[in-house]
Amino acid sequence: MSGFVRLWPEQASHYAAQVDWLVIGFTGMMAMFVVPVFVFMWVFIFRYRRGHAAERDHRPSGSLKVELTWMVLPFIGALVLFVYSARLFFEARVPPADALEIQVTAKQWMWKFQHTGGQREINTLHVPAERPVKLTMISEDVIHSLFFPSLRVKQDVLPGRYTEMWFQAERPGTYDVYCAEYCGTDHAAMTARLEVLSPSDYQRWLEGADEGRSLAAQGEALFRQFGCSGCHGAASVTRAPPLEGLYGRSVALADGSRVVADDAYLRDSILLPQKQVVAGYAPVMPTYANVMDEEAVARLVAYLRSLADPRPEPATGPSEDNR
């Protein structure tokens, strides 16, 4: 910690630096519009105190030109900053395709992370430096919010649907992670540590914490355990939509609309099967909402994504899959 009292947060990513420049620039522009108010106010107070000789006749009671200038100028300044900030926001909201995928599950008062290689962590997250990392997040109870102050990003974690967040940490080190959305009694204890490792350290950490089976393999075990293969397996008697190569393809639904089979579609089909019934199939699939928790669903989704289609699929950004 530099100096006695830290007054500015660490910058652990380029994006953090850009946000800081935006903030400093905005403060500067606002000072340009605000300081004159304080200066003129004190000047007028001292010059026009009662009993103090000053020139007081033909007092202006208003002027359209002056009003318009201090309406339009600050707004234009703000618009310029708005556009720059909206671009930054857009960049922070759209994860790059080749990002390393990590599943995050928030639960009242702890953070659980699952890597595609199968490694699982609680309240600590190991990520490689200089590589984009995408977090697909969901909550098992109330709204939480994963907040990385040193990366200047946060994203609420909602129960019921996936929310995403991505970052690219540059400098290896240990950074604080908080839950920013109030979530009950131990909201203050729901903190975590972000360990940014150099690529070689990260590789060594992956082997060290290896679970033996990748996330997709764990998903396959669940696929059999919950009897999904009974209907969706190749040799099943009941008619159920084929799952090979489903991920990324657009699916025709019973009500005539089409939807891209992304993570959210796969999760909803498992937990809310009535929501988007595939065209030509009866809505007979039972819900697994009370049987499976979000972590198990995340593993199943990872497995479904790893099901390679016998027909070579055009690469739609297949996930990092080191089975």
């Binding site: 019973a254 009500d255 809310l272 009535q274 929501k275 988007q276 019934v277 809505p283």
Partner: protein, 215 residues
Amino acid sequence: MTASEARPAEQFEDLRQQAEADRLGMWLFLASETMMFGGLLLVLWFYRLSHPRETAEALASMHWLLATGNTALLLTGSLCMTLALAAAREGEARVLRRWLWVAALLGLGFLAGKSVEYGLEFQEGLLPGNDPASPLKSGAARLFMNVYLTATALHGVHILVAVLLVGGLAWRVGRGNLPVPAKAVTVEMIALYWHVVDLIWLFLYPTLYLAGRGA
């Protein structure tokens, strides 16, 4: 809000100013009512757009013909209140009383229709929505039934209040202690309340029963 003697309340210059104030006050109160029901309509349309298929499933089991009849009752009630107000302005107490009783009965008819509908829905297990034996399979369809119950119950309470107001007014006119046309403003206020409660139903009815049926 009603000044008992013909003289206006002391903060008003004359009766016209007081009537205008009462009218504005009533309109503002009704604006706040529409904002409240607007919130409910927003919830309904939010879930209609985010769960179209399940909403259609819930709509299939609604008794919409009964509701259409109810809507007709309310519209007739509005007509009665307008005719009652016209009679009040012309000072014909007897005609006023007749239209007020008809409007009150129509309101009761609406409430009766509503309770029959509720009875059927409870019997079929549609209500309350999270009843495990509900014939609706998807969660969002049950959610729709629950929000339907909340919205129609709240509106039903407002209809009940309207019926009581109109009934009370008719009884006072019968007893003779509501001189018309001097006190026509009171009739106008209650007619206005009835019309806005009816207006709210005009939007609740298609949202809950018609739009998207048979999808």
